[in-house]
Amino acid sequence: MNTRIATIVLAIGLGVSFVLLAARIGKLHLPGNQQGYAPAQPIAYSHLLHAGDMQIPCLYCHYPAQSSRHAGVPPANLCMNCHREVTASLGAMHAEDELAAKENRKPRRVVSSELKKLYDALALDANLQPDPGKEARPIAWNRVHTLPSFVYFDHRAHITVGVACQQCHGPVETMVRVRQFSDLSMGWCVNCHRQATAQGVGGRQVNAPVTCSTCHF
């Protein structure tokens, strides 16, 4: 009798845990697979705003991708090309302009809390001039796309042949916070290489190698 109850309890338990697991099965990853990883960044930089709404080309900021293996995170002085003038969201700046016109004074500089972090990193004062009293400090971004160290990946070849950034990185221009879109597994790489060789990239014939030493050497 007792054994029977125990068996039933066990069977139910097993069933429940299967059901629970099944609901999450899509979220289970093999170790090392970080698909969907979207860490918070030290500055809440939005790709949706910059690449989507403003339509800044990817390679404007990630220019090393054409000439180096890394696409890289742009140096802060590149941000300053625009953000020397643009110090807050358009709305906030317009509001200040209107307010200043109403109060009949010169508009003050409004600085958004996120851009303040950029200026602080560069050790700039309220007038965006170098402040010798402050210490410049690099911004430690959290790396989203990481390959194991035994894989050699080079952006150059992919950019040169015309592979769109979105092919691997997904619709970054719609992401407020960057998320790892593909699983970056070897099977995924190899499938794409095979397909590219068979179908070409952008109507061009390419030879995407699938030999081991292409990536592992």
């Binding site: 890394h70 911004i139 430690a140």
Partner: protein, 638 residues
């Protein structure tokens, strides 16, 4: 049928019959390991644990430059020329720097001495830069201190010595840097009783002493293996560890090019199998006690053409046929033997064509007698301030423990070695890749040591330290530039303004100029001594030799070098004693057995390694090391 060649005793045995299979047939259980169930449990646990471990997410970061220098592209390497700091040979290097960090060293193909070569020690020396065990800041009596405190301490000691005429001694390895030499002189000028002593753990002192006798100048000539048609090396492993192996190997390769117009003949006389010995056309196996006799015989045979020994007559015959195109080198530590070698070379007319004295080498300048007298002084407690820089005498100089007897010991060192641990003051030294400096391996060829990264820790170069102690603190870059502008620029006579000349020297990695001819005296020694003979004994001869990847042990901290299998014995990591097969059979010793080596009142327990002396046909009748020879090796921290 072609003769079967073999590379190890095991292979030789398997050639003569099926024996000693590579894989053992014994089942695992009997090997004393876990049983099947235990094994599966362990595997299950490990697998589970590794799955769990793999689930944790490390967060790598990217810290881009705030302001990117123009032309700098992350991930794209840049190459700088510099100089290898692995030993005194000062080979030219190209340093690959990526994202501001040096990541790889290669030889500089344009460098006139090393010509693109870089030995294992040079290749691995980059690891020393990132070594977590480096001394990161000055230490006073073992406690971390700042440079102000360190400077104040040593200045007060030096001032005291200056006032009271106290003895100040500077002990370094060979100084091949012109700027350093100048600053050492300037630093010591201020004292009444000061001396600079250079020594090399792998000493060539006897060669310099012999030239003082025969040529009137204590110099190390530059050997041109690239110009020799007959090479006789007597216990000098010039392809492995002797003086400037990279430069010599390059020259040797030129002389022995199967596709080239000439193919030099090479005889190696040695007590143990060396890298050079494996390449020789003729190899003569002699015990260390027989080398002096051999050189005496050879000197006679070169003069007369005859000797009582056929092998000597044959070698002398080859040499006599190649007058002015031959080269005899010798690794002996005995001055009288080296004097004989000089006379042989002089008789053959090799001085000039294959042995250059007016482009003398600065790679080894050590003076064993000066070291001995310093050790005596130290033992007597007569040294007030001893500064040791770039050397580890407590480890590699005979009697070097005496450094602790100095009243004040300051050590300029990169890591806590045997000498530094005895010091009152440790001045943290910069790695070569963090330093400005210069090097002149052979007179007339100078290179700039160019840093490729800012000092990682609070360290200084010896140049900066010396300038500071002389009361004229300056940055090493200014010191080197100044010296080059004053000394080297006028000698090089380029048609360039100095700034351009300096840039070009940095870009090329070297400059060349005429150092000015040296007076050549006749090869008449002032006093002719008999070569020292090692007394024959009943026991074994112990031959200590430097391992190809570790030299005298200065780089023993470096795991890459410890991992390099010796090219001859194929052993990595450990110390061992090589025994010839016959000697081993006589003693009943197998490879791996421990033997106790007693020599000069010291004992060392070492695993034995059976090492044949030669695999060449001309040695077939003696397929082993001499019976009475035992090679012991002191490779790392034994």
């Amino acid at each position: 049928m072609a003769e079967k060649l073999w590379r190890s005793l095991e292979e030789l045995r398997s050639l003569s019959g099926p024996d000693a299979a590579e894989f053992t047939e014994t089942p695992l259980e009997t090997a004393g390991g876990p049983d099947r169930r235990g094994f599966l449990k362990a595997v299950g646990f490990t697998f589970g644990a590794s799955m769990l471990a793999g689930c944790s997410r490390t967060v790598p970061r990217i810290e881009p430059n705030l302001v990117q220098p123009e032309g700098f592209i992350p991930g794209r390497p840049v190459y700088y020329t510099s100089v290898c700091g692995g030993c005194g040979a000062a080979c030219g290097t190209l340093v690959k720097v990526r994202d501001g960090r040096p990541i790889k060293l290669e030889g500089n193909p344009e460098h006139p001495a090393s010509r693109g070569g870089l030995c294992a020690v040079g290749q691995a020396s980059i690891l020393g830069l990132y070594d977590s065990q480096r001394v990161a800041q000055p230490l006073i009596e073992g406690k971390a201190a700042g440079w102000e405190q360190a400077d104040a301490l040593i200045r007060s000691r030096l001032d005291e010595a200056r006032k009271n005429g106290g003895a100040v001694r500077l002990l370094t390895a060979s100084v091949n840097s012109p700027t350093e030499s100048v600053w050492i002189r300037r630093f010591l000028e201020g004292f009444r009783n000061a001396r600079h002593v250079e020594y090399d753990a792998l000493s060539s002192s006897a060669i310099l002493d012999a030239h003082e006798q025969t040529h009137g100048a204590r110099i190390l000539p530059r050997y041109r293996f690239d110009k020799a048609d007959v090479i006789v090396s007597i216990d000098a492993d010039f392809l492995g560890t002797w003086i400037s192996p990279v430069e010599f190997a390059r020259g040797y390769a030129d002389s022995r090019n199967p596709q080239g117009s000439r193919y030099a003949w090479h005889a190696q006389v040695e007590p143990r199998m060396s890298l050079s010995g494996t390449k020789a056309d003729q190899r003569v196996v002699l015990g260390p006690g027989e080398i002096a006799d051999f050189v005496t015989d050879l000197a006679g045979a070169v003069r007369t053409g005859n000797s009582s020994r056929a092998v000597v007559t044959a070698i002398a015959g080859r040499l006599r046929e190649a007058r002015g195109r031959s080269l005899v080198v010798c690794g002996s530590q005995d001055t009288a033997t080296q004097v004989l070698v000089n006379q042989i070379n002089e008789a053959l007319g090799n001085y000039g064509p294959t042995i250059e004295t007016d482009h003398a080498s600065r790679q080894r300048r050590g003076d064993d007698r000066a070291l001995e007298s310093l050790i005596e002084e130290l033992r007597g407690g007569h040294v007030d301030v001893l500064i040791v820089a770039g050397a580890n005498p407590a480890f590699d100089a005979p009697g070097g423990d005496a450094v602790a007897k100095a009243k004040f010991l300051a050590v300029h060192a990169e890591r806590m070695d045997e000498t530094a641990s005895k010091a009152n003051l440790i001045c943290a030294a910069s790695h070569t890749l963090e330093s400005w400096g210069d090097a002149e391996p052979v007179e007339g060829t100078a290179s700039i040591v160019q840093p490729c990264i800012r000092p990682l820790f609070q360290t200084r170069t010896l140049l900066e330290a010396l300038a500071g102690w002389s009361g004229k603190p300056a940055a090493a870059l200014d010191l080197v530039r100044d010296q080059w502008q004053k000394e080297i620029y006028p000698k090089a006579k380029p048609n360039l303004p100095f700034d351009r000349f300096w840039e070009k020297a940095l870009q090329d990695g070297f400059v060349q100029y005429e150092p000015g001819a040296r007076m050549r005296a006749a090869a008449k020694p002032r006093e002719q001594k008999e070569p020292a003979r090692i007394p024959r004994s009943e026991g074994f001869d112990v031959v200590l030799y430097a391992k190809t990847a570790l030299f005298a042990g200065r780089h023993a901290y470096n795991p890459w070098l410890q991992e390099v299998p010796d090219p001859i014995s194929k052993v990595a990591w450990d110390n061992y004693a090589c025994l010839g097969p016959q000697a081993a059979a006589k003693l009943g010793v197998k490879t791996g057995d421990y033997v106790r080596v007693e020599c000069g009142g010291q004992t060392l327990d070492l695993p034995a390694l059976i090492q044949v002396g030669s695999t060449r046909r001309n040695c077939r009748d003696r397929p082993g090391l001499r019976q009475q020879t035992l090679d012991a090796l002191r490779q790392g921290r034994a």
